[in-house]
Symmetry: C2
Subunit: 139 residues, 2 copies
């Protein structure tokens, strides 16, 4: 039982077969899947599941605060089930692989705050993962 499924059950969320396979697709703390990848994984277990349900469910989980939505450089949104532990991301510019990293939140000095009420910070480190670095140098 994943923490996500457990949390959902505690909330009394109606857990249908479709929702279960979608939540199971998001299992793990270091997963950053796009909607089509969630759809693929869910369909392996329940072939009748529809893409619309995947989108409905993901959006619902995001607005419940059970998933975080990450905007990737390509058009696709990604979903991160690790909402318990504050963290940032390290992304490979070539293959798009995304890892969680634990770093200090950067501070926004008061004189840069422009009167905003601050709600959060996201940091993305961009780089090249070992695999892609290897294939670049060999290319």
């Amino acid at each position: 039982m994943t923490p996500l499924l457990e949390r959902l059950r505690h909330r009394g969320w109606r857990l249908t077969a479709q929702r279960r396979v979608i939540a199971e697709a998001m299992a793990g703390d270091h997963v950053h899947l796009a909607a089509d990848e969630v759809f693929e994984r869910a369909r392996e277990r329940l072939p009748e599941v529809s893409l619309a349900t995947v989108y409905n469910t993901l959006n619902e989980l995001v607005s419940m605060g059970e998933l975080a939505e990450i905007t990737h450089t390509d058009g696709r949104k990604r979903y991160d089930p690790n909402v318990a532990e504050p963290h940032h991301h390290l992304v490979c510019v070539d293959c798009g692989e995304m890892l969680d990293v634990i770093t200090e939140d950067p501070r926004l000095p008061t004189d840069q705050q422009h009167g905003f009420e601050l709600l959060g910070v996201e940091t993305t480190f961009r780089g090249r993962c070992p695999d892609c670095a290897a294939s670049v140098s060999s290319a």
Copy 2:
């Protein structure tokens, strides 16, 4: 003459009427326009300009390194002409207004680097701008 146009001229870039109005639409260091906004602005000065040319030109400027592409939470890409001064962004979660802020780059500790070759960092501070904070509290 904006720095952007000046830089382009120095590169010997063919400066047609269309490209000029597009570059002029990006004038200023604190502008973060989406493609459709650039299109609007450009069309005010040169009504025949086409959306495809706006996209072509923006993409070309990005690959020349004269504009930075920013991925916003909504689907649209934004373009930032301030490539000279390293900076991060402060974004209003309600209206989407985006401001430049100068803050220290966060560090990625070596033990979090996962063997990546680091290329850059982007930080986005999310908050509510004074205008939106006012209309929330009055709502």
